[in-house]
Structures are given as structure tokens and as C-alpha cells.
Amino acid sequence: MSGIADFPSLKAVEIAAAVQGGELTATELAQASLQRVDQFNPAIRAFTDVTAERALADAARVDKAIAGGAVLPLAGVPFAVKNLFDIDGVVTRSGSRINLENPPATSDAFLVSRLCEAGGLLMGGLHMGEYAYDFTGENAHDGNCVNPHDLTRMTGGSSSGSGAAAASGMVPVTLGSDTNGSIRVPSSFCGLFGLKPTYGRLSRHGTFPFVGSLDHLGPLARSARDLALVFDVLQGWDKADPAQADRPALATLSDLGRGTDGLRMVVAGGYFREKAEPEALAAVDTVARALGTSAEIDIPEAARARAAAYVITAAEGANLHLDRITRRPKDFDPETRDRFLSGTMVPAVWVQHAHRFRSWFRSMMREIFEHVDVILAPATPFAALPTGTKTITLGGEVMPARPNIGLFTQPVSFIGLPVAAVPVWLDGAALPVGVQVIAPAWREDLALRVAFQLEKEGVCRAPVASL
């Protein structure tokens, strides 16, 4: 077993085993995490709120519980959450200036409670793009969160701090949200494993919304096993989230080692290869080779699915913020202000057609999944862009960077499919790039099994950044 000096690179599974076995204490882990945050947060800006006092108090409680014979799946595991999650006693910022005027939350979000009850130590709230309308990690109010693997690059967003905190070894596990790609994009740019579960799987109660019909929550971590460990703890019925499906919990950790034999795995072609840079395609091909597949399928109407998600996001996001954007537009980050303002002007018939198309696209994808178990696709069209990049050129077309980083994530979350994002470091590459392992609805276990197999074979890995 490694000692506390190895904290930055320890996985959640290792930490929980060490605390349960008496080799480390939760208090030592909370202190090590706080020290790492102190040392590197000023340069990286992953944390916006550090809950040090609570972390140490919770750690003392976990140590006492373990000494009393308790068995806790996340014993002493430090974690942190995107600052749209409610934290008791902390204002839920949602990356904004306006929400800072709200009173502090009076209880934890449902998922935060689940992790704490399992022995996890909440270290604080994490940086995000304003109101989650972001793929970059840039924020005019809080400063830009930067990529721990290259401080001149974006983390990706909008779960920017969730990516940066895990990649820099401040905590082994974070929670983020994903409406159009906001877990998978930072996972790709920061070189992490990320899980966007099925829409309706996890309760969103106690989190600030963005687009309710597309919002998901999920974990980011430095191993597939940690994702499974945390995902199993996060599940649980909560009547407070009207979109949560009443489905039995799915145990994924116990089945993680079943391998991929017998799984029908294919690579997404067409749309998912047309506007990808060479590194993104090479990452998908590397993963496909390792899994022994070269079969390619075309996903019909993927571009239209992305367009429909774009329309719904514009209108539904603007509706949520209508009062704020009408009364005080100057208090918004300019990058989100102009998009929210334009979203107030979207005709209802555009949005309704997009929602109806969503039903059509779901039916079509269900048919595809009668013949395949897993689809591989790039998570982002490229590795992390330099901070401040405004335009990109893909397939010969110049386009704005900010909305188009999620080209490949949007069609998938549009119909709520579960995805494990896995990190690939190509030979000689200075930066990682992610691949989406897409499974049928409610089969997170398949995506995690594939992710674990790739990690076991060394094809995918998530090293802590050298800082």
C-alpha cells in the first residue's frame, strides 16, 4: 500500500481500502487534499469554495465510525462537486455572479449526501462555466480554470473545475453535470474517465438546472473502477427529481472484470468522422483496435440530432433565465449573455419540432442497439484548445469554437444514452483526447466494463498532471 505522500495519484478504491484497513486515516487524507488545493489552486482555479472545516469534521467522524467497526465504501475518499450542487452552508453559484446574491444552501444536494453517507469527504465547490452554458472552462467572473496538463490550455466545460481538480490530484473523484457534453468534454481535455449516466438515472435534486429536459449528473475520476464505485453509491430513488426514472439500481463494480468478450462493438462513422481532427480519429481507432473491432456504422441523422439539441438548449436555457436576462443582462458573463438573449427569441414551433424529432431519433437508435452493444465515437473533435480560442476550422469550415466543441457529445446526450468517456494518450502526444464508449439506455455497466478493459490493457490511462 502506498502512503499518504502518494495521495495525489491514489485512486478512490485504494484510499477506501487503506482507510478501511487502518493503513491511512480519513483525517490524513482530508489534510493531504487541502494541502494540494492550497498549493495548486491559485494557478489552476479548480475550486471556487473550499469547505476545509467541514472536511476535517467529516473526516473525524469517518475515522470514529471505522474505529467502531463501520464498513464504508468511500471511507475517507476526498471529493468535490461542480458549484451548481447545493452544499449546506455554501451559496450555490452555478458559475454566475447573480446567484452569489442567494442565501447559502441549507442542505446538501441528494448526490452529495449519498457520497458523504458512504464515507466520502466533501472538499468544496468547483469552477464551472456560467450557468453551464459552456464547453471551454472560461468564466468572466471567476477567471479561467486552466488545464493541469498544460496551463495555457482549456479544461473544457462546463464542468471545468471537476476536470481540473481530478487531473491535478487535488481529489480523486469529482461530480459534474452534462447537458450537451459537460462531463465528457472536460474528461477528454483533462485526460479523465467520466461517466454520463442514462438520462433519468440519478437524482438531480439540489442542483441548479440548465436545460431540465437534457440535464444529467455524473462522476469524473482517474480510473474506470473509481467511476463504477462512485456510480453504485450515487444511485437511489429520490421522488424530488420529477425526471428520475423508477428503475432498480444497477450494480456495476462487481461486474467490472467480466471483460468484453461477446460484446458487439462498432465505431461510429459518417458524422462522427467528418469533422474530427487526426488525433481524435486516431484515439478512436486505437481504442477500436484494442477491442478487436473495425466495424463501422453510420448513425442516421446525427447532425440533425445535434441541431435539435442546440435549438432546445437555446430556448429552454433562456426560459430558465428569462427574468434575470431581462432585468440585469450586464451581470451575465458576456459569453453567455448574448446566447441567453438570443435564446429568448426562439419560436416555439422550432422547439416543439426538435422535441418530436428527439422521439424519432430515440426510436431509431433503439433499433441500432438491437444489433450492437457498444458504439465508439470521439468525445471532442480535438485535444484541449489554447485558452481564449475563438474560432476553429473543421472539415475546411471555419466556425466559432465555443458551441462546436460538443459536436460529438450533443447527439448522444440528446437521447440520454449512457456514455463512459475514456482518455487516450497517443504516442508522443503532449495532451490526452477522449473517446466516447456509448451503451444502450440503462446499460452503464457495459460502458464501464469496456472502459475498465481498456484501462487494464493500458490503452486508456489518466495520470495525474506533472505540476
Binding site: 433519468g200 426514472a245 441523422e301 436576462i325 438573449l341 426562439v346 424519432w360 458551441p403 440520454g416 439506455a441
Partner: protein, 61 residues
């Protein structure tokens, strides 16, 4: 949908109806955003859906 969507006219009309504040230097960006949304919507609307295809009131994957 009209092939010639006039983003400037649409923003000017909606700005008034919705009581929005749009400063001069924001306007071109807002017009570009609504034009991009219109382009996306055009792509979606050009896909024929059977009459019985309904939106999900609470979406289930």
C-alpha cells in the same frame, strides 16, 4: 421556413416585444447566435415527422 431569415429584423422585433435590453456592441453577436439557431432549426424542421410522433412530456431514455 423562409430561406432568407433576417436575423436583424427578428432581433429588433423580439427585443421590443420581450422588453430586452440590447446594447449596440452586443447586437451583432446576438444576431449571429439567433441566425445559428435558425440554421439549426431549419435542419430539424426539414425532417418530415409522421403526425403521430409526439414529444415526451417526461422524457425517458
Amino acid at each position: 421556413m423562409s430561406a432568407e431569415f433576417d436575423a436583424g429584423a427578428h432581433v429588433a422585433h423580439m427585443e421590443k416585444d420581450m422588453g430586452l435590453t440590447i446594447e449596440d456592441d452586443w447586437r451583432p453577436v446576438i444576431e449571429a447566435h439567433i441566425a445559428a439557431t435558425q440554421k439549426a432549426a431549419e435542419q430539424v424542421l426539414s425532417f418530415p415527422l409522421e403526425d403521430h410522433v409526439e414529444a415526451a412530456s417526461v422524457f425517458e431514455a
